[in-house]
């Protein structure tokens, strides 16, 4: 596994030392989960949800009052009700 490439996908900065330390641990985990490969799963259907219960639908009634101020309270930086992030376009 290319640890730095995966870290880039996961948007986690890793120093080279961290990557070097993580690499054997992640290899060990992958080697362990590779035990699944020996099992013939042929046409077994995958389970994404433990029960076969149908997803329930709720009545289409708007019940979402504006709570912008409360919801933005925990944000690191806001302005005029917007989230502020570093400049994206030069």
């Amino acid at each position: 596994m290319d640890v730095q490439k995966v870290a880039e996908l996961a948007r986690i900065r890793l120093t080279d030392e961290e990557a070097a330390e993580l690499a054997p641990q992640l290899e060990h985990i992958l080697k362990y989960v590779d035990s699944l490969q020996g099992l013939d799963t042929g046409d077994v259907s995958p389970t994404a949800h433990p029960h076969d219960a149908a997803m329930p639908l709720r009545a289409d009634i708007a019940d979402n009052p504006s709570r912008r101020n409360a919801l933005q309270m925990p944000a690191p930086k806001t302005e005029s009700g917007l989230y502020v992030v570093p400049k994206v376009i030069e």
Partner: protein, 492 residues
């Protein structure tokens, strides 16, 4: 006090022998005395606890008692609550105060419960020893050099040491049952879909479920009867789940006619011999109570841990993508650009185990590996589910050890992630199958508590509660308490 059961306190309150304020004061005193050693609570606010207790006493005087009126309950720091921080014991949420209550927190408040504070846990519930918390490890009251199990280690220790009569935990791969076993308490993971996940910080959405941690089986039923139920705002909360009378199920005193499955795959080499002995003795007790012990096989058990360590990290890597320094939580200082902000925020915010799991999951879901890892694991998950379905054609309930070993020492298993992952070898399969499970004390190994795990078909918590109540009635294990915690706050 200090080791009172929730239902005993309820009777005392209802009988006018004590008040919510007195109980709150006593438990706060115990927390102040013992928390510096145990590190079970990460946030509590005396004044706020007393205010809730006084409000409860006032409600009782004016309107009469609600289901949990005046009863103190500790909350794992993974449940969003508006009146305290909710940090998941992570740096990335260290300052976070949620703008809404988790559904189950609302239900507890509406039932009159007094929330004592937030308990320590493994960071984002990822761990089996409570050593990955940014607030430091929790100690096991039975031996403070040992871990309490995890991830709900703070809740387990709080109940075991009598700092709270009951607590809420969450269980993704054993995080309620394993710490309950290691601290001599009762922990129940309800059927997936039974309890709303809304406002519980997500780890692995297809596995996470909240449940009670208590000193006896009846208390687990009491708390579950309040927190269970359909919530339209959680799409995986099941609307037409059959509900049985769980408190009535706890009146069962025998096991006549009960067919208990004993799966060969859960009694294996490498288990602590005293654990095997304790669980075998427990099954003998069940036989004396009238149960029939049936040897069964769950052949795909050996794949459960590997399946879990693909599915749980994959779902975690998706769930934890939200911690990007934009809407809540930590943001690194002086980011050079957006990418620098994301990557440094997440590097600074997440601990080593959380990073390992995010990276494992990101890899398993990445292009070219998805079928080999994630899809394969989902297929094996089906096989594990079918094992249980087949077993339940033969038996009513399954009994196993909760953990292959008693509590281990701090730092004993932190070097190699796989060794730690194997601590959950007996608890993981039922999360994959979505089934309910309960752990209760059934013996000792090296002087430390041993847990007996019950597994029932989906929606049959009543079967777990009946079997566990009959066992509890016939044994004394649940009455044992750790030394050194029986003095402060003695008079209720």
């Amino acid at each position: 006090m200090p080791f009172s059961h929730l239902h005993e306190l309820k009777s005392q309150l209802d009988g006018g022998e004590t008040t919510a304020s007195t109980l709150a004061e006593n438990y706060l005193k115990r927390i102040q005395t013992h928390n510096p050693t145990l590190n079970a609570f990460v946030h509590y606010d005396d004044k706020h606890v007393m205010a809730q207790a006084e409000a409860s006493d006032a409600h009782r005087a004016k309107h009469g008692p609600r289901a949990l009126e005046g009863l103190p309950i500790a909350i794992k720091d993974i449940f969003c609550s508006t009146d305290s921080p909710t940090t998941c014991c992570s740096n990335i949420l260290k300052e976070y105060v949620a703008p809404y209550d988790a559904h189950v927190i609302s239900l507890l408040r509406e039932a009159g419960a007094v929330l004592l504070g937030k308990t320590n846990m493994d960071e984002f519930a990822m761990g089996s020893s409570n050593e990955t918390s940014v607030f430091g490890p929790v100690r096991n009251p039975w031996n403070i050099d040992c871990i309490p199990g995890g991830s709900s280690g703070g809740s387990a220790t709080a109940v075991a040491a009598g700092l709270a009569p009951a607590a809420l935990g969450t269980d993704t791969g054993g995080s309620i049952r394993q710490p309950a076993a290691l601290t001599g308490t009762v922990g129940m993971k309800p059927t997936y879909g039974r309890v709303s996940r809304r406002g519980i910080i997500a780890f692995a959405s297809s596995l996470d479920q909240a449940g009670p941690m208590t000193r006896c089986v009846r208390d687990a039923a009491l708390v579950t009867s309040v927190i269970a139920g359909h919530d339209a705002r959680d799409a995986t909360s099941v609307a037409d789940a059959p509900v049985l009378d769980w408190l009535a199920a706890c009146d069962r005193k025998d096991m006549k006619g009960l067919r208990i499955g004993k799966p060969a795959e859960y009694f294996i080499d490498g288990m602590h011999p005293e654990v095997t002995k304790a669980v075998d003795a427990a099954l003998e007790t069940c036989r004396d109570l009238g149960a029939e012990i049936v040897d069964i096989s769950l052949p795909h058990t050996k794949y459960a841990v590997a399946t879990y360590y693909v599915i749980a990290p994959s779902e975690a890597s998706a769930n934890l993508a939200r911690y990007d320094g934009v809407r809540f939580g930590h943001r690194c200082s002086n980011p050079a650009d957006l990418s620098d902000m994301y990557t440094r925020t997440r590097d600074e915010g997440f601990g080593a185990e959380v990073k390992r799991r995010i990276l494992t999951g990101t890899f398993a879901l990445s292009s070219g590996y998805y079928d080999a890892y994630y899809r394969k694991a989902q297929q094996v998950r089906t096989l594990i589910r079918r094992d249980f379905e087949k077993a339940f054609e033969q038996v009513d309930v399954i009994a196993t050890p909760t953990s292959p070993m008693p509590a281990f020492r701090l730092d004993e298993k932190t070097d190699d992630p796989i060794t730690m992952y194997l601590a959950d070898i007996f608890t993981i399969a039922l999360n994959l199958a979505g089934l309910p499970g309960l752990s209760q004390p059934c013996g000792v190994a090296e002087g430390l508590p041993v847990g007996l795990q019950w597994i029932a078909p989906a929606w049959r918590e009543d079967v777990l509660l009946s079997a566990a109540s009959a066992f509890e009635d016939a044994t004394e294990w649940h009455t044992r308490t750790p030394d050194g915690f029986d003095t402060v706050g003695g008079a209720a």
